[in-house]
Symmetry: C2
Subunit: 216 residues, 2 copies
């Protein structure tokens, strides 16, 4: 079982909606132990969960995240992700506690990593505190409202790390090479980047530059 044991990582979100584009991006991304590939929610809804297996067929050893953003029937959706060879799957932090609990428990049973996506959640620490089992990863979005107030956003990383030292923290939202520094300093483990890489003319170079920025 692949694990998140050597942060920081770059997670490239395949934010397209066709298998063809997803395959192009997958093949253009560089081979790197610290590069994770995410099948975005619209991509999964458009093409079905088998898109994960298609990515796997192109990159046997890569760590793949199924961005399911599950809101209901947690265990059922984890089973879909596992069958498709995903290494991790996301549940929405907005789901009921019973859904998040069943999702995390199913991930533990199926030996894949669980990610609670805190998009639109006001109090991530409170949500994590209320769960039966902690997820592997908590995902924080720097919302549009916060884009002029990054300090506030990255403080949330510090709060989660202080409260739950074993949880890995992923960050998403408008990340550029020039602004990874404060998130790195706050202790973020995984940096999720979409368009800044996928819409780049040179996908491989854009990803490589990001990976280097994270290792600086």
């Amino acid at each position: 079982m692949k694990t998140i044991s050597n942060p920081p990582y770059l997670q490239v979100a395949l934010d397209c909606v066709t298998s063809k584009e997803a395959m192009r991006l997958t093949l253009e991304l560089p081979e790197n132990e610290n590069l994770l590939i995410e099948a975005g929610t619209p991509l999964i809804k458009a093409e079905g969960i088998s898109i994960i297996q298609s990515i796997r067929d192109k990159k046997k050893d890569v760590y793949i995240i199924a961005d399911l953003k599950t809101l209901d029937v947690g265990a059922l959706e984890v089973n879909l992700a596992k069958k498709s060879t995903a290494n991790a799957a996301t549940v929405s932090g907005l789901a009921s506690n019973s859904t998040i609990d069943s999702f995390v428990e199913a991930c533990i049973a199926q030996e894949i990593d669980s990610i609670v996506d805190m998009m639109n959640c006001d109090e991530p620490v409170k949500i994590l505190s209320s769960l039966k089992e902690l997820p592997t990863i908590a995902l924080l979005h720097r919302g549009i409202d916060m884009e002029s107030d990054t300090e506030h956003a990255w403080n949330k990383v510090v709060h989660i790390k202080e409260s739950f030292p074993d949880i890995k923290v992923a960050v998403a939202g408008g990340l550029l090479i020039d602004n990874v520094e404060p998130a790195l300093e706050a202790g973020a483990d995984i940096f999720i980047v979409g368009r800044a890489i996928t819409a780049s003319e040179n996908v491989k170079k854009a990803a490589t530059d990001f990976l280097e920025a994270l290792r600086r």
Copy 2:
């Protein structure tokens, strides 16, 4: 454009995860103007949005709901639903206002019905009040917590109808033929049923019995 103009309706949720099972259920359901077919969220994630077109190929004139439970990139997901010939699509009431607004606006532009799914939302009326444009349908779930307190649950139908007379209200959660009466009296327009029909030995009869109970 098909519309919800002659309630009450029965919405059968295809709560399976394979195309094969979805096709079996689709073919077994009776032909009836007041029967709507929902492609459930796990089914869409499992098989991709093209499952809607597959249902359409079997039942040319049926009203089909894409249960996307969208949390982000509202307009993008509406486009997927429209392309696949869906008549309506759902957005989660837990999404940000900007996501719900972009979803509803895209539905209006694409001429399909919009449904705000209030699962896990404490204050549906407040959410509806805060939107730029009202959705076609508000979907209320009778949560597990409420199953011994149905009066409370159906009061929410009355509250929405009083506040927004033009909105249609759909109800879901443990609906059985024997307990549709109070929801009908509260003014519910659409009754969503999953396992009570899809897990029945005689799908056609189970659906027909429900349709008759709604017309009683």
